[in-house]
C-alpha cells in the first residue's frame, strides 16, 4: 500500500469476496455468492449486481431484489430538520397528528417511491412536525428513515467494521467485547508485524482476525483452542489474502501439558495416539457449523456448490465411491493435521512468544497461568473478561506467582456525540460496559528454587509499600 497505485482492482467487489453490508449503524458480514438471496434488515436482495462496482458504493434495492448504484447524493442529509419550533409546547397529543395512514404508505411503496420521498411525504403530512423541537424532529426522521429506507452500502471488511458489527448484532458471540476494548487489547499487547503471538479466542475468531490484520501476514499467530476445534467464523469475515493464512497456526490446549512435559508425540509413530487424535479431530469438524469448517474461501465455495448439485436419486450408487474417497481424503487431512500440530508445537516449544491475547468464555485465570509460560521475558500480555471478578483472581495469582510486572486492571468508558449546529450533545444511549482487561508484562523469573522459597524473595522490603497499588 506504500505505492500510490492507481489500479482500482483491489478496490473492486469481486465474486467470492467477503464484504460487509451497511445501513446506518447496522452492519452484516457476507460473502458475495452468485444468485444467493441475502436478507438484511428485513429486506431481501441479491448481491450479483454489486460485482465489479467499487467498495463503499451505496446501492438501492430495486424490485426483484437487484441492486443499483445510488446517484451521489446532492447534500448532506443532516439538514433534514428545517423550520424547527423552539419547543414542543404547542403540540396537542391527540393521536391525529399524522394524516397519512399505514395504507397510504404501502401505496407509496408499491408506486416505487424512494425512502427519502416517503419520509418527505410523512413530514409534509404531519401537522405537528414543524412545531416539534429540532430534537424531536431528528428523532422522528430517524425513526421514519429506519422504517422506509431501502439502501445498502457494501464495505470492504476491516477490524473496525467487524468489531462494531459483532458488538451491535451479536455481542453474546464475542462475550460482549466492545470494539474499543478490542482496540485496547491490540495496542496493549503490542501486536505488530513480525512477532510471534499466542491467541486464545472464543469470541467467534474476531480477536484472532484482528491480531492477524495487525500483523499483515508477517510473523506467526498460534491459535490456542479448547476442545471442539478452533473457531474461525470471525477470521473468515476479514477476507484476508491467502498468504495471511500461512502465518496462522493452531494448537489444542489439551496438548499443552504433554508438550510442556515433553510427552507430546507429533511424529505419529504411535498409531493409537494418532487414531485417538484423528477421531477427535473428525468429531470436532462434525460438531461445527459449516461456516467454521474451512480456512480458505475457495475451498468453501467449492464445497457449497458440490452440495447444491447433488441430486436425491443417484445417492446410493455413489455412496460407496464417496466413502472410499472420503477415507482417502481423511487420511490426507489427518497427515496435514499432524504436520500442522508438529509445526505449532515446534513454535511453542521454544517458549519465546512475543505476546499473548486471551478473550474467552473460559475462566481467564487458569488460561492465563497455563499460557503465560510460552512467553519470552519482557513481553506484553492482555486478558479480556466480561466480568471483573475473574480478573481480580488473575491479578492475585500473578502477584503470588511472580514473573510479571506492570499489571493493570482497567475498563473503558465510551460515548459518542451528536455534533450538529445548536444541537450538540452526547448520544442519548451508550453502551453499558465494554468488559474488563488485565494487562501486564512478563519478566524473567528468579532461578527456579525449591518450591516455597520463591515467594519469600519476591518483593524487596523497600518496595513492599507498593504491593497493593502496583498493579
Amino acid at each position: 500500500m506504500a505505492d500510490n497505485g492507481d489500479e482500482d482492482s483491489q478496490y473492486k467487489i469481486k465474486e467470492g469476496d467477503y464484504v460487509v453490508l451497511k445501513r446506518g449503524d447496522i452492519y452484516k458480514a457476507m460473502q458475495i455468492q452468485p444468485r444467493k438471496k441475502v436478507i438484511f434488515e428485513k429486506q431481501w436482495f441479491f448481491l450479483d449486481n454489486a460485482v465489479d462496482h467499487l467498495y463503499s458504493t451505496t446501492f438501492e434495492i430495486m424490485s426483484g431484489g437487484t441492486l443499483q448504484p445510488k446517484k451521489p447524493k446532492d447534500t448532506a442529509s443532516s439538514n433534514d430538520a428545517k423550520e424547527a419550533g423552539t419547543d414542543n409546547r404547542n403540540i396537542v397529543d391527540d393521536g391525529k397528528s399524522q394524516k397519512l395512514t399505514r395504507d397510504d404508505i404501502e401505496t407509496f411503496k408499491e408506486q416505487g417511491l424512494k425512502d427519502q420521498e416517503i419520509i418527505q411525504q410523512l413530514i409534509e403530512n404531519s401537522t405537528t412536525f414543524r412545531d416539534k423541537t429540532e430534537y424531536a424532529q431528528a428523532k422522528y426522521i430517524k425513526k421514519k428513515k429506519k422504517k422506509y429506507e431501502n439502501t445498502v452500502t457494501i464495505l470492504k471488511p476491516s477490524c473496525r467494521i467487524l468489531a462494531m458489527m459483532y458488538h451491535g448484532r451479536e455481542p453474546g458471540k464475542i462475550c460482549h467485547l466492545r470494539y474499543d476494548t478490542l482496540a485496547q487489547m491490540l495496542t496493549l499487547a503490542n501486536i505488530h508485524a513480525g512477532s510471534k503471538v499466542l491467541v486464545f479466542d472464543t469470541c467467534a475468531g474476531l480477536v484472532l482476525g484482528a491480531v492477524m490484520e495487525r500483523m499483515g501476514g508477517y510473523g506467526s499467530v498460534i491459535q490456542m483452542y479448547p476442545g471442539g476445534g478452533p473457531v474461525r467464523a470471525g477470521v473468515e469475515s476479514f477476507g484476508f489474502p491467502a498468504h495471511f493464512h500461512d502465518m496462522l497456526h493452531e494448537f489444542p490446549i489439551c496438548h499443552v501439558n504433554p508438550l510442556l512435559a515433553g510427552t507430546l508425540d507429533t511424529t505419529a509413530k504411535d498409531p493409537n495416539a494418532d487414531e485417538k487424535q484423528s477421531n477427535k479431530a473428525t468429531e470436532e469438524e462434525q460438531n461445527q457449523p459449516k461456516a467454521e469448517q474451512q480456512g480458505s474461501p475457495e475451498e468453501r465455495s467449492m464445497e457449497t456448490n458440490a452440495g447444491d448439485d447433488a441430486g436425491q436419486e443417484q445417492e446410493k450408487k455413489e455412496k460407496e465411491k464417496r466413502k472410499e474417497a472420503k477415507a482417502q481424503e481423511k487420511k490426507v487431512k489427518l497427515e496435514e493435521k499432524r504436520k500442522k500440530l508438529a509445526a505449532a508445537a515446534a513454535l511453542l516449544e521454544s517458549r519465546n512468544a512475543d505476546g499473548l491475547v486471551i478473550a474467552s468464555r473460559f475462566h481467564p485465570c487458569p488460561v492465563l497461568m497455563g499460557l503465560l509460560k510460552f512467553l519470552s521475558p519482557s513481553r506484553p500480555f492482555v486478558v479480556y473478561s466480561q466480568y471483573k471478578e475473574p480478573l481480580i483472581e488473575c491479578y492475585t495469582k500473578l502477584r503470588e506467582h511472580g514473573g510479571t510486572v506492570n499489571l493493570r486492571l482497567t475498563d473503558t468508558w465510551l460515548r459518542h456525540y451528536q455534533v450538529l449546529p445548536n444541537r450538540t450533545h452526547p448520544v442519548l444511549l451508550m453502551s453499558g460496559g465494554g468488559g474488563y482487561l488485565l494487562s501486564g508484562t512478563t519478566v524473567a523469573m528468579d532461578r527456579p528454587k525449591p518450591a516455597g522459597s520463591q515467594r519469600v524473595e519476591e518483593p524487596a522490603p523497600k518496595r513492599l509499600k507498593l504491593t497493593d497499588t502496583e498493579g
Partner: protein, 304 residues
C-alpha cells in the same frame, strides 16, 4: 395518603402504586367499586385495596400477585403518564441538593411538563414552603394541577399557564431557588433573578445541548450570578448475576499428578478433569444505558 405524608392504610380516593416488577409499575386512583386490569388479573378496589395496609401483597384474579405501594415522588416518576420528556430521579436528586431545597424553601420552576420534578420539589419543601410552577402548554398545566390536587399537595403549589420567557414566574423577590427546563433558558434568566429573594439563592438550568448551556452561562454571568457550575450526572445500574465460567483442559499434567515413586501409567480419566466450571456472583451493566439526559448548570444569585 399524600405525596408529602405517609399513611399506613389505603383509603378511598388515594393514589396507590401497583408494583408489578422493578420496571413495571402503575399508579391507580383508588375508588370504591372500581377495578384495575393488570397482566396478573383484575384488582378490585373495594376488597383488594381499601382498608389494606400499604405494602401488602394483593392476589389478582388470575392468581398472580402484585404489591401495592404508598406513592412517593420517585415511584411517581417511574410510573407517571408521560406528556413530555421527564426528569428522572438521578438528576432530580442532584438538583434538589444543589439547589439547597429543604422544608420552607420557596421555589420557582418552568416548565412544569409532566410534573416529575415538581412532585420531588414539593416533597422536600413541605410543610412550609411553596412552589410556583409555570407551564406554557395549557392542556399540560391543567392536567398537572389536577394531579397535584389528587396527590394532596395543591396547598403547596401554584400552577401558572404563561410564557416564562415573556411573563416570568408571576412572583417577585420570593424564591430561594429557581429551576429552568425550557428550550431557551437564557431568555428566562432575568425573570429568574427577579423572582428570587434579594438576599440571594440558587438557580439551576437543565439543557440537553451544549450550545444551550454556553448561552445560558453567558447570560447568568452577565446578570451577576456567581459560582456558575455545569455538570453531568449519569446513573449506572448493576444487575446482579450468577455466572458460570468453564475451566480449560490443558491435558494430563505429569508434574502435578505423579509423585516420584508412582511409575505406573496414570489413570487417564482422572488426569484430565474434563471441562468443569466455576460459578461466581458478579454484576453486569445493562447492554445500553442512558448516555445523556442533559447538562445541569447551577449558579448562585448573590445579594442584590
Amino acid at each position: 395518603m399524600s405525596f408529602v405524608e405517609y399513611s399506613d392504610f389505603i383509603q378511598d380516593g388515594d393514589v396507590a402504586i401497583v408494583y408489578l416488577s422493578h420496571d413495571s409499575m402503575m399508579p391507580v386512583k383508588v375508588q370504591q367499586g372500581a377495578q384495575t386490569q393488570t397482566r396478573y388479573g383484575v384488582i378490585r378496589h373495594s376488597t383488594d385495596l381499601i382498608g389494606q395496609r400499604y405494602g401488602s401483597k394483593v392476589t389478582c384474579s388470575k392468581g398472580g400477585w402484585v404489591q401495592v405501594l404508598h406513592p412517593t415522588p420517585e415511584l411517581w416518576t417511574v410510573s407517571l403518564p408521560h406528556r413530555t420528556q421527564i426528569l428522572y430521579t438521578t438528576d432530580i436528586a442532584t438538583i434538589t441538593m444543589m439547589l439547597e431545597l429543604k422544608p420552607g424553601s420557596v421555589v420557582c420552576e418552568s416548565g412544569t411538563g409532566s410534573g416529575s420534578l415538581s412532585h420531588a420539589i414539593l416533597r422536600t419543601i413541605a410543610p412550609t414552603g411553596h412552589l410556583h410552577t409555570v407551564e406554557f402548554h395549557q392542556q399540560r398545566a391543567e392536567k398537572v394541577a389536577m394531579e397535584f390536587k389528587e396527590h394532596r399537595v395543591d396547598h403547596l403549589v401554584t400552577v401558572r399557564n404563561q410564557d416564562v420567557c415573556k411573563d416570568g414566574f408571576g412572583v417577585t423577590g420570593v424564591a430561594d431557588a429557581v429551576f429552568l427546563d425550557i428550550p431557551r433558558p437564557w431568555d428566562a434568566v432575568k425573570h429568574a433573578k427577579a423572582a428570587m429573594k434579594k438576599q440571594g439563592g440558587r438557580v439551576c438550568s437543565f439543557s440537553p445541548c451544549i450550545e444551550q448551556v454556553q448561552r445560558t452561562c453567558e447570560f447568568l454571568a452577565d446578570q451577576g450570578f456567581e459560582e456558575i457550575n455545569t455538570l453531568e450526572i449519569l446513573l449506572r445500574v448493576h444487575d446482579i448475576r450468577t455466572v458460570s465460567l468453564a475451566l480449560p483442559d490443558f491435558g494430563p499434567d505429569p508434574s502435578a499428578q505423579t509423585p516420584p515413586d508412582a511409575n505406573e501409567e496414570a489413570p487417564p480419566p482422572t488426569s484430565a478433569p474434563n471441562h468443569t466450571s466455576v460459578t461466581l456472583k458478579t454484576t453486569t451493566p445493562p447492554r445500553e444505558i442512558p448516555g445523556h439526559t442533559g447538562y445541569l448548570t447551577f449558579a448562585t444569585k448573590p445579594r442584590t
